[in-house]
Symmetry: C2
Subunit: 935 residues, 2 copies
């Protein structure tokens, strides 16, 4: 068994970490290593050292036994090296480097970074022989400051930590810091809704502990000068600095407040937020103030803040990391405005004072980049940061419950940010942290090793996940782990199609395109796999799986089902069918399941996470959970006698008429798709049971009917399908008569085979008048010799695929050659056609610029604007933006004239951040039916 | 005890009737009179005789003991006269005259004409002394042929008579004839959906019996030449006349068919229908045939028919009543078309052959006259008939269940028909007869004695009803009888606001103007009175009341409630309130009540009426009961904690927000109406109970709040009202804060008193921007010296009042002086105002003419067209007409400009059949909220 050598000279943080690693060893091997301050005469040892803080390493270097040149002067790296058969050195270039090395060792013996937050118990092992495999020189992190923000922490995180740790204390933060460091992060914005990090340790214990571990503490955009926002307005406390959080009216007091903050907390490693915003995002100068006045005020504030920092933190301001958040309310003051807008003001952007300050940008709160550094800003000394969200408390609808941002989206948008030069700070809002610990691991992996996972590796999510699952569930076989990957991404992508809080019974269409049934099928797939996996696991694995994947997936699936069942219930109730009542029962079951799942989670591991299950998540009607609604259930009273009511499963119309000629259902689907199944719902909307028969007006050998007679309690599905090799390219017809009691409903079925052998490859055909082309189904694609090219994003977006130009910074003028995609399709008529492009609801990356592409079609070149220049990304005043982030798709229609026959369109890139998911082509009169996901 | 003298020479019908009267006497006095053929030596006698069929009367005349001059040569009259102390003569001018006299005697001793159909048992009496009061010379009936049509007789009448009489037999028709004659009718269209009157007696028993009683049999517009339509196409029977019901293709056979019919049935007293229409209303010449071709074909048909009548019925055609129905499909051929329409054809109207034929017109199937005789037609020899409906099987939605045409409507529209010269035939479709027996009595009273009840007696429904109730419930005290009148007209007027089958949860608005609550209150009023009356009655009275009023009222009220509760349920469910669940239970109760009421009726009097309860009547979705629907019930799952949700009872918006400033409900109602009550619904839409308090921002002595604190299970109503004498004409304000848990909702209340002492009388004021003027609230009305004047119709229409010009035949040109109504109102602003007139959905009475009035307002005279000339009354192709008869109101909007201050409008008559119910005045931006009945 190895012992640990940690010298007295070592960083306190390294010592503490060594203690944690010792516990990890004990968990794995059943025995805790002893920790010695000096090399002793022991069997086997790890030496945990940091360059410049280790006499042993100094000696080894001196003796030529260790060459530190690979790590010397580097940021946050470590080297692991066998000194001899018995002794392994883990040496960091600096404190965090050493700590990362220690946690790397822990991972090496099988301890997951999520051992606490994800309940991942390491496998017990008898012993281990370390070999040369362990030797490594780690890389410098790609992004300088990488971390997360515990935010929106009530009711979950707050209740949890109050119950378990008596508040937002150092005892709790120890777990947070450890997670951050194990995931090779270094930066944290602590919780701040009701707590003040600097005061709640208790006392300064939080700040002390963070500093010991080398965790850099920052704060969000409205907490300047190391002061938590809660410190100003603590409920019930008289504030010695006066009442008004307004630099204009309460200047001296506010300066004193900041000065006291810097004096108190400036001694710790921090990124100091500068700037100021009014209370509750209000303007300090009033709504009628000019841009110029606000710019002047901000300059005054920042100048004073930096004076205070110089005085109380470090006289060399370049040595103090500072951050100015360009959050939307400051944006205007940063960019200024030009004469054309009627206000000619140079923004802060041009102000030298800010040269060394990190400019922190923010996406639109829903994971889509907004303004990114323009070329003229790219090389600024202070660099850039990005505030990203896995959790958001705000409009149009908050998402604070289960993960709902796909890894693919995170990869795609954050890679773009990095490509645009945002490399100094990456911070992600993880809400209550619990349930986001898994996506967080990916976020920090991307930030730490962008070279490996970033732009250079499109579509690398599978590889990452395979690795992550191998580390997290090493004893589980690969097939099961692959299934786990399916559940993990399955539920997150499902949530990403429509964030859970924004779901209700009116989202997925209850019948058109059988959308709700398809979503139920997806939910069932995820749920079945989830359950199957769970049964195969050992007790410890069950806990880890439950905590990290099973529970979030299970409860997400249940929530979706609740709304889908409610939709089906409402649909069948509207049709007057008693089948509605069964769906009402299913809704009730889901409501109860939801309650039970939450209670069960609260009791998991004797209440380890009690509180974390409290987030409201059902049917939001406002931006927050005020007036959230459980789904409705509608009951149908059957009529007084058995009665026939027929419908297509994918349509709302019902066919139920006794008087006169029978109503006729059209089933022309087989004219377009001989593999289609048409489902006819035959219902009894009256009491008792109903016998039906299906007759046909003529013999017909090409049609299969799943059942031609039977007895119906409430409803059965009859499946119509065709036998393709009995069809020709002439239209065949047959009329079915569905008969029960005195009612007859006719079904007119038509079919033909389409000969595609004469068509060029990738020629898309219409179905019921609509041609649907997934963006990756181009027949050709033109890349530029410069390398700029559309690249497929796998499993991307709501449509499951996307085409985006890389490099992501590439943009083109209208005249210039640009990468293009080419699509081919067959038209049966001449005329005007709607070309409906479905794009990812990304934003223009430059302020006041549009997002466009070029459409070539019907002998015409059109510039299509998907986002106009006056679009307000991230603004709840702009319904266009709201709809985009709610629906996760943006639809743009243009008209093209075509002759019938084989036709083409092509799409040329113009502006960056354009991602094409799908194209629909149809005549106005064939407009697709209303639905969420489309045909 | 009196005996009856009925001579051998008497009409068979008189003898049979004497037998019935004898039974009536037995019922009343416990002893059956003996019937002698000659005057004998008995104590007291009635002689039942007919002029010319009685040797006794011949003798009396000869002896100068009876002067027959008053009745001789008259139609259907009778004289009752004491011959001496012991002998009373009832002598008819003809057979029906005598029979009417006999039934008058029966009524005199207290036997109701409805004794069978309305289950009205006469009161038992010890004895009776007849006195001179009984002497009478009756009048000649106003309308020559008066009767009803048993129609749409499945499932009710058909099942009933099959069960009870083994089919549509003479045994059953005996009851029908008796009812007709007791009500002094003389004309019947027998049932014809599945039966043939001439064949089902069995054999000719029906025709024989009718003839004996003097009941004139007619047939509807598609049963010419004494043939029932069923005779042609009897299911399963081979037709010896060929298959095609098409004179064009099957001429000889059809002529033979008619000839055989006339030979068989021409010997009985009949009105023979002539003309022909295609099967199922289709055109015999095809849809593309010209008007000219059709006119020629019809002429050919009619000529041949009349030849056959001449040959087989009576060589003097003037002695054979014949009838041509101008039902909508024949109308074009009757009126022809003029050159301006591109087809210049003289219609049948100008054809001499038809001079002596009765032209039967029809209203629009919903009780509103369509074309009425134009002055040039008025004096035609054959005269006119009218086919009226108390029951209709057809579009837009059938009404075949409980009575839903108000007496007021019947009076108003039929009086108009009479005024226009329709005096030869009145027939009313009574559906299954049962439940329409009470309105039928009124219809026949009006037809029999138009001089008393018709145009000369506007607003005489109360008087008629008082008399009818006095005859039907003689032992019940007047106060209770008045209450009965309230229930009778209450439920029928309620049904007339929206016919029962056309009700659903989307008709009356669930909250705007508290419409649903007001309708529930109306239903409760009727129901409470109905129950109270029932308890006060004797057993026999209970039966009569149950059969004629209680049951139709009870079940109508229950049906309305069912839909209203469903509307409230949906409303509260939409608001997310658990109060919805209580309404769901109430809907269930109503559904069960409905079933129970029907079962109970089926068992009434040991199943006397079994079958008559079978009509479907709930939630029609088509024109007939195909796919009728029971109302839906939606269940709300309360949220996880008690939660406040506030609303105005008369609005849909809910106020429920914890975050940020409280939402504010506006209660400015007291600015317009200090007698108004504003109801605030305070709901707990979560589990358990919720404590609330209402605080106010300042003391306020003028506002009353019904409760300022309490505990809420699901929902309570808080009533806000003001104390007028604490208010001034300055606006007073107070803000209420409704608080519960962490939620606060504000209510902003404003009030002032409006000083109306300075305003001229009948100055209408706005309420929330809308001025509502019932048509009878004019400040002046200008009548013409000729007598033409607007007259108020009490309890009329959906609005409860109407103004119509009498004489109803009056019409005016634009230039000419016409009667007018003058309304005054106060405007608070200048501007453009919408003048929305609510008129009864009557039709123009001349073909291809509009229905208009003149509006004078804002210094402008406008001709307002409520119905344009291309309107198709009675046509399901015209949605405008459909909406009118469904909604029972027609709204027409015009714009007027006014200055603020006291303003006026006046309405001048132009076209006949214009009835004004209400006027709304508002600016476009103050448009009334959606509702059925309006503000």
């Amino acid at each position: 068994m190895y012992n640990f050598i940690v010298e007295n000279e070592a960083f306190e943080g390294v010592k503490k970490t060594a203690g944690k690693i010792a516990v990890d060893f004990e968990k794995v091997f059943g025995k805790k290593p002893e920790i010695f301050p000096v090399l002793g005469n022991v069997d086997k040892s790890f030496i945990f050292a940091t360059l410049g803080k280790s006499p042993i390493v100094d000696n080894l270097i001196k003796e030529g036994k260790f060459d530190s040149s690979a790590i010397n002067g580097k940021r946050e790296i470590y080297q692991i090296k066998f000194l001899d058969d018995k002794t392994i050195l883990i040496c960091g270039s600096d404190k965090r480097g050493t700590i990362y090395g220690l946690f790397a060792l822990s991972e090496y013996i099988g301890v997951s970074p999520l051992h606490f937050w994800g309940d991942v118990e390491p496998a017990r092992r008898e012993n281990i022989e370390f070999n040369k495999n362990i030797e490594v020189i780690s890389k410098e992190p790609s992004v300088k400051y990488r971390g997360f923000f515990i935010n929106d922490e009530w009711p979950c995180f707050g209740n949890w930590t109050n119950n378990r740790f008596g508040g937002f204390t150092a005892e709790m933060y120890d777990h947070v810091f450890e997670l951050l460091l194990r995931l090779k992060g270094n930066y944290l914005w602590p919780a701040m809704w009701s707590s003040s990090f600097a005061l709640d340790g208790p006392g300064n214990l939080n700040e002390e502990l963070a500093d010991i571990y080398g965790v850099v503490i920052g704060a969000s955009h409205h907490e300047p000068c190391l002061r938590a926002s809660e410190e100003w307005g603590k409920k019930g406390n008289e504030n010695i600095y006066g009442k008004a959080w307004n630099f204009y009216t309460n200047r001296e007091n506010i300066l004193k407040y900041w000065e006291d903050g810097l004096k108190r907390s400036g001694k710790y490693e921090k990124i100091i937020t500068i700037g100021m915003r009014g209370e509750y995002d209000s303007s300090m100068l009033g709504d009628n103030s000019s841009v110029k006045e606000n710019v002047e005020l901000l300059k005054d504030i920042i100048k004073n803040q930096r004076e205070l920092i110089k005085k109380h933190v470090n006289s060399n301001l370049d040595e103090v990391p500072q951050l100015l958040a360009l959050y939307k309310e400051v944006e205007e003051y940063f960019y200024g405005c030009d004469a054309s807008s009627g206000c000619d003001v140079k923004g802060l952007k041009y102000w030298d004072e800010l040269d060394g300050v990190i400019c922190m940008l923010c996406e639109d709160n829903f994971g889509f980049m907004r303004t990114l550094p323009t070329p003229d800003m790219k090389n600024r000394k202070g660099g850039f940061g990005m505030y990203y969200h896995f959790d958001y408390h705000g409009g149009p609808i908050s998402y604070e419950w289960m993960p709902s941002t796909s890894y693919e989206r995170t990869w795609e948008q954050l890679s773009m940010a990095y490509d645009y030069g945002i490399k100094d700070v990456w911070i992600v809002n993880v809400g209550d942290l619990k349930f986001n610990e898994v996506p967080l691991a990916y976020f920090l992996a991307l930030a730490y090793d962008f070279e490996k996972w970033g732009t250079a590796s499109p579509n690398s999510i599978d590889e990452y996940t395979t690795q992550w699952l191998a580390h997290t569930f090493p004893s589980v076989n690969l097939e099961v782990r692959n299934k786990m990957a399916g559940v993990l991404h399955g539920y997150i992508r499902m949530n990403a199609m429509r964030r859970p809080e924004a779901l209700n019974a009116d989202i997925y269409h209850p019948c058109h395109y059988e959308e709700t049934d398809k979503m139920l099928e997806l939910a069932n797939c995820i749920d079945t796999a989830n359950e199957e996996i769970f049964l195969l696991l050992s007790e410890d694995e069950k806990n880890a799986y439950y905590s990290t994947i099973y529970f979030p997936a299970k409860t997400s699936v249940n929530l979706l089902r609740m709304h889908l069942y409610s939709a089906k219930n409402a649909h069948y109730a509207k049709q007057g069918k008693k089948a509605a009542n069964k769906y009402a029962d299913l809704v009730t079951q889901c409501i109860n399941n939801d309650k039970n799942l939450m209670q069960e989670f609260g009791k998991f591991k004797n209440g380890k996470w009690k509180g974390m299950e409290l987030e409201q998540h059902i049917g939001f009607t406002k931006w927050n959970d005020d007036n959230y609604r459980n789904p409705l259930r509608t009951l149908v009273e059957p009529v007084h006698k058995p009665r026939l009511c027929v419908s297509r499963k994918d349509r709302g119309e019902i066919y139920s008429k006794t008087y006169g000629n029978p109503m006729t259902i059209l089933a022309y689907d087989f004219l377009y798709d001989v593999n289609k199944k048409v489902i006819i719902e035959i219902a009894n909307d009256g009491i008792d049971t109903l016998d039906y028969v299906i007759e046909q007006d003529a013999p017909c050998d090409w049609l299969k009917i799943s059942s031609v007679k039977g007895t119906i309690e409430d409803q059965i599905d009859i499946e119509l399908s065709v036998i393709p090799n009995k069809l020709t390219n002439e239209i065949q017809s047959v009329k079915l008569l569905i008969k029960a009691e005195e009612t007859v409903v006719a079904v007119d079925v038509k079919a033909k085979i389409i000969d595609i052998s004469q068509l060029p490859p990738k020629t898309h055909l219409q179905n019921n008048g609509v041609i649907v082309i997934p963006s990756n189904q181009y027949y050709d694609k033109k890349d530029l010799s410069s390398g700029a090219a559309f690249t497929e994003l796998a499993n991307y977006g709501r449509s499951g695929t996307g085409m985006k130009v890389f490099p992501t910074t590439a943009n083109f003028s209208e005249k210039e050659e640009s990468p293009s995609l080419h699509y081919r399709f067959l038209l049966e008529d001449d005329g005007e056609f709607v070309i409906e492009t479905w794009t990812t609801p990304t934003n223009p990356v430059e302020i006041n610029k549009p997002l466009r592409f070029i459409l070539n079609g019907g002998n015409k070149k059109q510039i299509v604007t998907t986002v106009p220049a006056d679009f307000k990304a991230g603004s709840n005043a702009d319904i266009r933006w709201q709809l985009g982030v709610l629906d996760n798709i943006r639809k743009t229609e243009v008209i093209c004239k075509f002759k019938k026959g084989i036709q083409e369109i092509s799409i040329n890139a113009l502006d960056p951040n354009f991602i094409l998911e799908k194209i629909l082509i149809y005549k106005e009169e064939n407009k697709p039916l209303p639905s969420y996901l489309g045909p």
